[in-house]
Symmetry: D2
Subunit: 350 residues, 4 copies
Amino acid sequence: MLIEKTVLNDERNVTLTAYLQPVKGEFYYIEKRPGILIIPGGGYETCSEREAEPAAFAFLQSGFQAFVLRYSVGKDAEWPNPLNDYEQAMCLIRQKAEEWHVYPDKIAVAGFSAGGHLAASAAVLAENRPNAAVLGYAVLTEESAHEWLDSAPGLIDKVHSGMCPCFLFSARTDSIVPVRNTIRFTEALEKNGVMFESHIYSYGPHGFSTGTSSVLDPDAAICPRARRWVYDCADWLKEVLGDYTQTGMSAPLYGTSVNGDSEAYLSVNCTVGCLMKNPEAGIVLRRLSDDMKDLLSESCREQLAGRRDLNSVTLRVKLSDMLGFEGIPCDKTARYDRELRSIRNCSYSG
Amino acid sequence: MLIEKTVLNDERNVTLTAYLQPVKGEFYYIEKRPGILIIPGGGYETCSEREAEPAAFAFLQSGFQAFVLRYSVGKDAEWPNPLNDYEQAMCLIRQKAEEWHVYPDKIAVAGFSAGGHLAASAAVLAENRPNAAVLGYAVLTEESAHEWLDSAPGLIDKVHSGMCPCFLFSARTDSIVPVRNTIRFTEALEKNGVMFESHIYSYGPHGFSTGTSSVLDPDAAICPRARRWVYDCADWLKEVLGDYTQTGMSAPLYGTSVNGDSEAYLSVNCTVGCLMKNPEAGIVLRRLSDDMKDLLSESCREQLAGRRDLNSVTLRVKLSDMLGFEGIPCDKTARYDRELRSIRNCSYSG
Amino acid sequence: MLIEKTVLNDERNVTLTAYLQPVKGEFYYIEKRPGILIIPGGGYETCSEREAEPAAFAFLQSGFQAFVLRYSVGKDAEWPNPLNDYEQAMCLIRQKAEEWHVYPDKIAVAGFSAGGHLAASAAVLAENRPNAAVLGYAVLTEESAHEWLDSAPGLIDKVHSGMCPCFLFSARTDSIVPVRNTIRFTEALEKNGVMFESHIYSYGPHGFSTGTSSVLDPDAAICPRARRWVYDCADWLKEVLGDYTQTGMSAPLYGTSVNGDSEAYLSVNCTVGCLMKNPEAGIVLRRLSDDMKDLLSESCREQLAGRRDLNSVTLRVKLSDMLGFEGIPCDKTARYDRELRSIRNCSYSG
Amino acid sequence: MLIEKTVLNDERNVTLTAYLQPVKGEFYYIEKRPGILIIPGGGYETCSEREAEPAAFAFLQSGFQAFVLRYSVGKDAEWPNPLNDYEQAMCLIRQKAEEWHVYPDKIAVAGFSAGGHLAASAAVLAENRPNAAVLGYAVLTEESAHEWLDSAPGLIDKVHSGMCPCFLFSARTDSIVPVRNTIRFTEALEKNGVMFESHIYSYGPHGFSTGTSSVLDPDAAICPRARRWVYDCADWLKEVLGDYTQTGMSAPLYGTSVNGDSEAYLSVNCTVGCLMKNPEAGIVLRRLSDDMKDLLSESCREQLAGRRDLNSVTLRVKLSDMLGFEGIPCDKTARYDRELRSIRNCSYSG
């Protein structure tokens, strides 16, 4: 492993430390590695060492190239300095992707506390977006952000459907950054159809980092489940970014969105609720309902017609549920999918 | 083990099945056991077998007396019939606590989907409250509740500070009961200071029950972490209800509330924000600040005086943070605690 | 679930209790279930309740039909009474396989302590063999067996290549049944090429059963890893017996033997050491070595000729290792496999 | 973290790479850290990168100072060169203990395959003994050792009661280093009363290192449990070496030996079998038996007198078992302990 430190901003004391594992050779099937940019917390007053390398080790073990960003804090923290530091860091990593053997489109951020605020800012606001975001007991609401840095923006209302998947964790009893930060952010992710995973553990102190005895005040009361986020997150990142195979990385298990409601054109991946808002799609749905007269019960057809319905279910799932074990006529699903894909999504904001 | 089935309501086909493990004898240190009342889902149309016994086995293994409630569904589901069924069941369990060797004050409910709606109703509305509630991909918002049963109440705004701790889990991609149900309930728990733990797994189908291959559609795509809720929940219940020891059950690790803000009288367990709303307490805080002049920095004293502060931190934590490793003068904390406990909490609603 | 108790022997107080889960209906893809026969310990003096139902719950949760055998103990324990009890029980389960919805060829035994002695006896000696054996801190050596029951046989030297796969676990500090029982049995399994998994945890008392607080002396010092055998074993049984799928059970992941050395005819699955003992096979090996002259280095060819070699490696693995990433000419492997399969294995004892 | 590489032997290309984490500062309660010396495998032909840094990351995350030894291989491997390399490395680490912030008496070795042979040699043969040894699919028998290096010693018969605790793991289907190596070593540890933990996973390839997808041939079939050795081993090391607390490291949970049979003087920690071999101790035992006439049943007293007994149980455990819940007269145990401690252990070999 090489450790390479780059000064990003001498005046503000901003640095990027790269922890670079070898590729090829004995790792013959590895040409590049996914990357993770660790952003430690510290209330925008400092960059905590407890949330820097100890977090990097966990992802190095999982096969990542790891990076630690030490960003503008204290008197230099005035927004958007920290975000600019992030932009510079992510930009550099992608520029050096060949040299550093990292996939430029498989780079996650992982931020803790105030660093979680910066990581989430990267996910919702930055020009150089990360491909996944890990947010540990992160500062996310305007109210909490202002407690730490007057100029730091609240992020809840900046969540949008095009952003990357997120992994959130925190402890219920966190008395420094209330869990409401995590909850309100997941709420916004849900509203915008963004994929995520979230764990709120019953109790633990603020700033528990990886939860091992060497980074934690040893006598801190912490729920034993809390230290599992490290392994859970490593597994989740494989779902989101893909995993090593003999021939490069496997495809991600899922995209960034739960359904097609935020795409430019409609499809069977849209929820029935979304489709019914669109008059053109309504016509298609009614035709579909007629078309499947023989296959569907009266009540199912009424559902398709939009009366008393589970509007949040995608059409694909609904058809599959309705037709069940009798078998879905796949060609029909495909045909109606093509039809819907020719209709513009009026609620598309992209 | 004895399996004992009681008909609670013949007309509506309501039954309570008890799975009763032995006590004493070889289990010499066990006089009674904690209990769990399983409430299977099924959209208030049916009671799913997949969420009945398979869930009971998990808690039986953990040492519980388990109970399965089959409540009013279909044409009999009109609210409050299901809640009345619950009341009857919980009432019966507590009545028979001696005979069934169950601690009457250590009985959790665990509900799934629509059964989760009933379990949460028990936690927020019932006369016979459970001591902990496990809510699996539960129906909780008014919107979702009405999709399944027109007369079923939404539960989000019924959450209150006196209710039992909750354990919630669901899958992000649930297309039958949106995760927003889980999120909005945790938000309400947070606002009311109720203890909880929550896990939202990245993907999985609705209705995954314990997540083992024998209860799940075998080809269902489900995140491997999802099946861990069973063990996590068993561990959480030990925190909440206590665990077996040589001399009865240990004390719960924590109460139902995160801080003292919802108690009738103030204390050092109240947040600084709560204390500062109370003029009498404000006087105590200022006296405390003067009293600790020698121990605290100017900035700390300003914090205590309420200028630019982390209002959500309890006074106990704040004092501990401020005084840090120098050592907290415990006698002082205790003295001010006594003072505060003589002041009525004006925001107490109990 | 139905609990059905059958008296197998009234005089000796031998019973079989069946815990039978439903199939079909909501479990529409389940026609039958794998089974597990629990054999509690108790030094052939008693049948411990702590190792009976608590163990059954774990496997019920995993989707098994569970059975508990209460066998001849105390004055009735004279060998082979307990083994006869087992035979009767296994015979009955297989007879009633249709009625009890259990796969007759997917029935494991799980025995603890002296019950582990009986379970291992079933695996090595019985007429009605189990399909897998779980041996918890089991009595296995002659020395230990005689301490508990003079007439009970030692089982180490009765291990043979045709027996079922085994899962063993025990605690290093077991002061009642020394871990040497577990070690010497695994040694015999290894010598005979039988598949197994084994976990010896650093410390714990004898008789920890499932390791949960409700079956353990609550103050017993036990290594936290010890309670994981339950889940590990459930996963292992899926490898060995297959797992639920939409169309019945999946095939087992592996057979009962590590290599082909104990089969009646030779094959590329035999170790090179085994092949070289056979003059006919030696001729085939030399021909193979010549045949691959162009593909293999001189040193590899010498290895094939049996000079200074890893004799315990199968020919299939050796060819694959030698040819490595260049690619194995599969047709050649297949051709030589056919040739070897026509040669009788002189060390076959079946 | 600092990475510091020291050339130990220029001619033989032997190096020690230290991965040094900070102490004090934000890690205010950490003055020193436990250490682990990683010894990669490679058949004494090479030092595998897959078993070097990837293994180090796991222990760095757990709070250790990590070291990787690249020892004499190929033409330089002639024994005892590799062992001398180890001695030099361990010697250097302990010399630099102050500078490198490592506890000199809390340094484990972790070796894989041939590196496991070297790690085990360190544990049984070296002058500079490690304080714990982790042996992954290690070469341990004479037969296996000679397959890789003619001059390398077999280690089974060199195991002795004074050596450090060991953690062993391997895969049942390892076709390069047969599991019999692991089994026979545990057998020797057991005979000598040395503490250990051992996991043999049902299947996996040789050389799986930490089992993550980035160090494993991605298509290798490996039992999912196999990758757990990393976390299990980290937990085990905390038992053996102690864990971080506010005031330095906690005491180890247990010593290196299971009982007192290998100490210079007898005690109640000796097994009854060991005591009964000693005529003086026999007299003490009979006196004890008379002394407890009122407390013990006839059969218990016969056991103490050595007739038909569980000779492997320590006297302390036996007394506790016999007297059970009535309560052990601790003063008596203490008195007889004192008496026994005045008797030389004739089987002491130290």
